[in-house]
Symmetry: C2
Subunit: 114 residues, 2 copies
């Protein structure tokens, strides 16, 4: 999608520290990390928000979480713990309109989650 | 699973304000809400953490997010926005060892997410 920052990262038009890629997803480090590990996992398909995910794409979202799991393992935070966050819409603070899962870990997370 | 609080809610052995149920998931209000809407969506299958989800269960996690989406719509927070949070492991603050997705909305969420 033209103008989408994450689509530009996918096309390597904007640099990013990519940590994982497969046919349907890409993962890269957040440019403004809020934890020692802070990685974004995105689908290659441009979908604006979680609200726009159709039922037939359920396995797509599941795959993104599966990928986040694998990255957590590689980052050495799988056993200690990590938090997954998906922002959807303005009040949540979503700022890039291409679905992304935040994977945060490497420190104790606090509650409430924002 | 014996001793699991969420399995007890599933079996109606512990009361909860249930807002949604289908064959594979249940959703109920968090007993200690951190936002005007704070609902937990859980699978009926007892899985301790996201780390233990196998690849063939990808659609299960996707379904939980799909259910959260539908609830957000019913709660009237779908357009304004909401945050989904999954805690996995001790450092994330996971306290009940049965997978659950937090759906939070009805107020502006802050950053970082805990």
């Amino acid at each position: 999608m033209e103008g989408c920052m994450f689509c530009k990262i996918l096309k390597r038009e904007i640099p990013a520290t990519i940590v994982y890629e497969d046919e349907i997803s890409l993962a890269f480090r957040d440019i403004s990390p809020k934890a020692p590990t802070h990685i974004l996992v995105i689908p290659k398909k441009h979908i604006r928000t979680v609200v726009e995910v159709k039922e037939e794409d359920n396995s797509l979202l599941g795959h993104l979480i599966y990928v986040a799991n694998g990255i957590a393992k590689k980052e050495g935070i799988s056993e200690k713990g990590f938090r997954l966050v998906i922002n959807c819409g303005l009040e949540s603070g979503q700022s890039v309109w291409h679905i992304h899962i935040h994977l945060l870990g490497g420190r104790k997370m606090t509650w409430p989650p924002g």
